[in-house]
């Protein structure tokens, strides 16, 4: 394990001190007998957020003390050869340990997206290219389903607008599993496809586009929906309703009036279920709007395109005649398009994007 460069160590030491000070301050706040319940819970929440980093810092500090102790022992035991050798050995081990602990602290200090651990919602929309775009939208949707299954995540369809024959105009699903969002977030953007459509008689290659959006799932704590802000539209029989009507149409459309966000779900068999799904999607959309807004203020991650996923950016091209897929952000081309569509080799792009994100985080760390 290599030593961290000196400038980073310096910055890290500063940050560590700040965190130790903050943690001590919060500890005081929590122990205040006359703190209000809101002050208490806020301080407690932040204190817990810092806890794991604080534990690592404490470990590192202890290790440094141990090293100092061993160093002085080595210096002061010049005559006792055996003791000196033992101390020197332990010192070597301790220094190695220190490097490892330093890396841990460093990692935990890097700015990261707390949403990475969450489940996510996948939305795929056919763009330009007519039926061919819809067919590719369906292929890509299935690709993500296979990729999810390969990772042991649960893939649930929320809604599909379209058919197996004509492709999907729009399709959405939830992907549940630890770290799902962290890996799939890079899929947001425009995916371009070049291939000969099945319906094409002259064998001409068509270009079409599919837009993908990946949103972290939000729960009631992240996004509080007020009933007054929601307009819920359901199937209306046009008559008196109630006992006079028998219907199986339980489609629900929810409009969040303040933002104008609309979510329509129809595939479940009860209104209650459609409503629950619609609220889930609505929360994720509103959460994403809020995150985008915060992100504009934040300047931690320098390469904004990768972190937030500018929705209209063309991120990948799938060239079927030449059997290859290129990710334009990291400039990597994979020459087995079949693997990619089976959800198998996506990690080649994702790992590179993750690495790039980490490097951006590191470079912004010292700035």
């Amino acid at each position: 394990m290599s030593q961290l460069p000196a400038n980073l160590v310096g910055v890290m030491e500063q940050r560590m001190k700040l965190i130790e000070q903050r943690s001590a301050y919060l500890q005081e706040q929590i122990n205040q007998p006359d703190a209000s319940p809101e002050e208490y819970s806020r301080a407690n929440k932040e204190f817990h957020k810092l806890e794991s980093t604080m534990d690592m810092i404490k470990e590192l500090r202890l290790k440094k003390e141990e090293i100092e102790g061993l160093k002085s022992l080595v210096e002061n035991s010049v005559e006792e050869k055996d003791l000196r050798e033992m101390a020197a050995q332990e010192l070597l081990q301790a220094v190695d340990e220190e490097k490892r602990l330093q890396h841990n602290v460093f990692r935990s200090l890097l700015p990261k997206d707390e949403a990475d651990e969450r489940d996510c919602i996948l939305e795929v929309r056919a763009g330009t290219g007519g039926e061919e775009a819809s067919l590719f939208a369906m292929d890509i949707f299935k690709m993500y389903e296979k990729y999810s299954q390969n990772n042991g995540w649960k893939f649930d369809v929320i809604d599909i607008m379209g058919s197996v024959l004509k492709g999907y105009k729009e399709a959405s699903g939830t992907i549940s599993g630890p770290g799902a969002y962290g890996k799939l977030k890079f899929e947001s953007g425009i995916h371009r496809v070049q291939r000969v459509p099945v319906t094409e008689k002259s064998g001409r290659v068509h270009t079409s586009a599919v837009s993908v959006a990946v949103l972290p799932q939000a729960d009631e704590v992240d996004v509080q929906l007020r009933n007054e802000d929601l307009r819920i539209d359901t199937y209306r029989s046009g008559g008196s309703g109630g006992q006079s009507v028998n219907t199986t149409d339980s489609a629900v459309r929810i409009t969040h009036v303040p933002t104008g966000t609309v979510v329509a779900i129809q595939d479940e068999r009860s209104q209650h279920q459609n409503k629950a799904k619609a609220l889930k999607v609505l929360r994720a959309r509103l959460y994403e709007i809020e995150r985008q807004r915060l992100h504009m203020d934040r300047s931690k991650l320098r390469s904004e395109q990768i972190g937030s996923g500018d929705r209209s950016e063309r991120i990948r091209t799938y060239n079927f005649p030449q059997g290859r897929v290129t990710d334009h952000r990291v400039g990597i081309t994979h020459h087995s398009i079949g693997d990619i569509m089976e959800g198998e080799s996506l990690d080649i792009f994702i790992d590179a994007l993750l690495l790039r994100e980490e490097m951006d985080a590191i470079s912004s760390f010292s700035s």
Binding site: I232, G242, Q243, T248, Q271
Partner: protein, 348 residues
Amino acid sequence: MLASASSAAVASSSFLPRPKPKPHLLKRLASALTPPSPLSPSTGADADADQDPTPLFLRPPAHPVPAPCLAAFRRRAAALVPPSAPHLHRHLRWLLADAAHDPDADPALLRAPLGDLEALWLRHVRDRRPFQYVVGNEHWRDLVVAVREGVLIPRPETEAVVEMVGRVEGFEAGWWADLGTGSGAIAVAVARMLGPEGRVFATDVSEVAIEVARLNVQRYEMQDKVQIRHGSWFEPLEDLKGKLMGVISNPPYIPTDDLPGLQPEVGWHEPKLALDGGKDGLDHLLHLCEGLSSVLKPGGFFVFETNGNKQSEFLVDFLSTKWDSSFHDVEAVLDFADIKRFVTGYRR
């Protein structure tokens, strides 16, 4: 309407390619405008399918059918769907999901012989037999409620009643009554929200309803929380007078004269007993209002479903004047279609 459209679709072969139906089917289609009476003879398969009281979706998947045969059935069934009723394609999908353990397997294991499914689908498309009776269930809130002929199919509006119960302070420990429980949907949904001391007492005068309610209570393992009592409205609740935290009811509220004009799925197939509310549709609702004050404990809550604005406004007025000394905060609550669908209030 639907019946004549389907016969038109069959007759004009130039519209869409459709398989020619067999002669006896054509005869039936021609007489589709007359509602089928329960005593009219049906084919052997049809009758058999109806004899077994077990809802289709609960029967064991004991009938293997090769995938090509099922696919052929699917095509035939889809061909019977008139363009004016595209929702029937959704029903076909759901029918296969409920009738087969795995509709895509080969062979697919069905819960009824394929011939029965054909007959069931025909009755659904031709006779407007409610889809919920065909598969034997209604998806309602987060439940799959078993239903069959003789029991009212739970309505989506009624889902809101359970939310209202959940907003009553201390509801989890209370004793609740679901009067006219029908399939038991409300009773089961409320019971699932209750704590160890909570109870639901569900009454119904119909024996079929008692049977179906019992089945649903068992399916959701709510036997410890729900007591089903056979009888009319408050009659079986003598021992609970003054002890109930809440009374819930979705009583028959359709005015008698409106019954013939109802949507065929409702008017031809659902039990009149569960729909007929008398001249103004208010007979049972008024009866409930009369008996309410003696069963509810002080501070107790009630919610009734009604036929809409007129009835709700009348009841709010009625309870706020004649029964003002017994109830407070009586109000009409809107459903998702902005109709005053429910009347709620509290016992003083």
